[in-house]
């Protein structure tokens, strides 16, 4: 090729590349958050949330600020209060080829408490002097693609939650989900694999599994009324500890459960009403199961703020054999509870919206150790200035059925307790907030006489100072 022709070809190639680049360019999206909080509590990070069954089973004591569940049983009436600081950072990177195709990744770096450990390999640790911990967690890696007109596909390890305020499942899970939108109707179909224990048991994958099948539909009946229905099929044939009963550590699971639920939301001026009902029918580890849950929620803009109320009933069972009314969620084992009811705005009675690695509650799972739950919650959010917001909440909760959980004997009452909490958040900078949240629970007679020597444990409290940056 002559020199002139070579130059011409190179110029053409160069121009083609330059012309192509804008169309091919990726949109790189980075997002993340940082949260650090000081906690003073006789609940979080204290002995009352270190699960005794774990110690009895030979597990090491909790390496985080608790094992998820409030368990003051058999402990001294007074326990030492805890003082500690925990920290979390999350980083998310999304590579968008176009508005129809993107790869989503998210990572997490936690310190359970300052001073936990260093130089090692331990998730949620690394805040002791010297740092240098291997502790990065991969939360999500999935493809999000509009593969056809009006058909979206998500494929990979993704966040996914139920359509019932997350009381059944709300977790990062590997699977595939297709959703669509036909005018006012939005259907979703999905399959998720929670566990596959075949490799460790018989070198055969795909049969000792724990899976979820999802059919979900939402319909916008009018501008103010949205209704929905969902069907979930839970099938667990795994041999695992990650399931239904903390006392069963490594056992063939046998869950075949159908869950059908309806939900609705109605908006009328300053008032929003929502709620759901779920019916579960099937088998959970040899027990024929019929369980249900009912919820109603309301928000009302009143004065300068917003008042809200929530009610949740989850069925329970007083026995441990025969037909069961115990509610199934993913999972009933508190250590692996991949669900949470946050709309009640509780700190101690229910799961705390500010909880990170330290995440303890009086009601830690929807099924609540087979006891179920009945709860009523009210609250008021009040913005004071452009930068300062405040909120206060109260909650009242009981177990639906007493099955002698934790004590082996009947409790004095089904009433768990009454929580009051309050918070104030100040916007220090555009994306940085400093806040305080305090909570106190007046224990119900469920806990009467359960501490050491037949005494009643002192009421639990929790106070947090929180700094949070989200971008």
């Amino acid at each position: 090729m002559k020199r002139r022709n070579v130059l011409a070809a190179l110029a053409l190639l160069g121009m083609t590349a330059a012309a192509t680049t804008p169309a091919m360019a990726l949109e790189n999206e980075f997002h993340g958050m940082f949260q650090a909080q000081y906690i003073n509590s006789n609940f979080n990070g204290a002995n009352t949330t270190a699960f005794p069954a774990n110690t009895a089973a030979g597990f090491a004591p909790p390496t985080y600020g608790g094992d998820s569940q409030y368990v003051p049983f058999g402990l001294p009436k007074h326990v030492y209060s805890a003082n500690f600081i925990e920290q979390r950072a999350r980083i998310g990177y999304t590579a968008k080829a176009s508005s129809d195709l993107k790869l989503v990744t998210r990572f997490e770096l936690d310190y359970a408490y300052w001073g936990d450990s260093s130089y090692g390999t331990h998730r949620n640790h690394g805040a002791a002097i010297g740092a240098d911990q291997v502790n990065i967690e991969t939360k999500n890696i999935y493809l999000d693609a509009n593969i056809f007109k009006d058909v979206n596909m998500r494929l990979g390890m993704m966040p996914y939650n139920d359509s019932f305020k997350s009381i059944m499942f709300d977790a990062d899970m590997a699977g595939i989900a297709f959703s669509s939108s036909y005018n006012k109707f939005t259907p979703t179909v999905g399959f998720f694999r929670f566990n596959d224990t075949g490799a460790a048991k018989d070198n055969t994958l795909g049969h000792l599994t724990n899976d979820l099948f999802v059919l979900d539909g939402k319909y916008e009946a009018t501008k103010d009324l949205k209704v929905g229905a969902a069907y979930y099929f839970f099938r667990n044939d795994a041999i695992t500890t990650n399931s239904n009963d903390i006392s069963i550590l490594d056992q063939q699971q046998d869950v075949k459960l159908h869950a059908l639920g309806l939900n609705a939301e109605y908006v009328s001026g300053p008032l929003t009403l929502n709620g759901f009902g779920i019916l579960e029918v099937g088998t959970v580890n040899t027990r024929a199961t019929t369980a249900w849950a009912l919820n109603a929620g309301a928000k009302y803009k009143v004065g300068p703020g917003t008042a809200h109320a929530e009610f949740l009933y989850v069925s329970g069972d007083s026995g441990t054999t025969g037909h069961s009314n115990a509610f199934y969620a993913v999972f009933n084992n508190v250590g692996t509870a991949e669900h949470g009811y946050y709309d009640n705005e509780m700190v101690i009675l229910g799961r705390d919206k500010n909880a990170m690695t330290t995440d303890n509650s009086i009601i830690a799972t929807a099924g609540n150790f087979g006891q179920g739950q009945i709860g009523g919650y009210i609250g008021y959010e009040l913005p004071l200035t452009d930068r300062l917001t405040s909120a206060a909440n109260a909650g009242f909760a009981a177990v639906a059925k007493d099955n002698k959980a934790f004590t082996g004997t009947a409790h004095k009452s089904n009433y768990l307790g009454t929580e009051i909490n309050a918070e104030a958040n100040y916007k220090l900078l555009e994306n940085l907030t400093g806040g305080v949240r305090v909570a106190y629970v007046f224990l119900g007679d469920y806990y009467k006489g359960v501490a050491l020597g037949g005494e009643t444990p002192v009421n639990p409290y929790d106070a947090k100072i929180i700094f949070k940056y989200t971008f």
Partner: protein, 92 residues
């Protein structure tokens, strides 16, 4: 040599187009970055800024956007809120 000249001119024409994408969006124009992820290469928005921008564009309504565009923007708003929720999600 003519071909080279044509190629160079074409490239300039295309560059001019991409410059237009990077220019500020005023009230009477569509925001193609929000709408179709085009021309976003110089923008770095926090998730809060992104939500604010999408809301601003949605408020422009049918004067600027078609019904189909508005539906897309609503979807973008949902996606942005989902990102914020995922970042703030509590628990272990």
């Amino acid at each position: 040599m003519k071909k080279v000249l044509i190629a160079v001119l074409t490239a300039f024409a295309l560059s001019a187009t991409s410059m237009a994408f990077a220019a500020d969006v005023n009230n009477s124009q569509k925001d193609e970055c929000l709408l179709a992820s085009k021309g976003c290469k110089d923008q770095v928005d926090s998730i809060q800024q992104r939500i604010k921008k999408i809301n601003t564009e949605i408020k422009k309504g049918k004067k600027v956007y078609s019904a189909e565009d508005l539906k897309k923007l609503q979807q973008k708003l949902k996606e942005a809120n989902d990102i914020l929720d995922t970042m703030d999600k509590p628990g272990r």
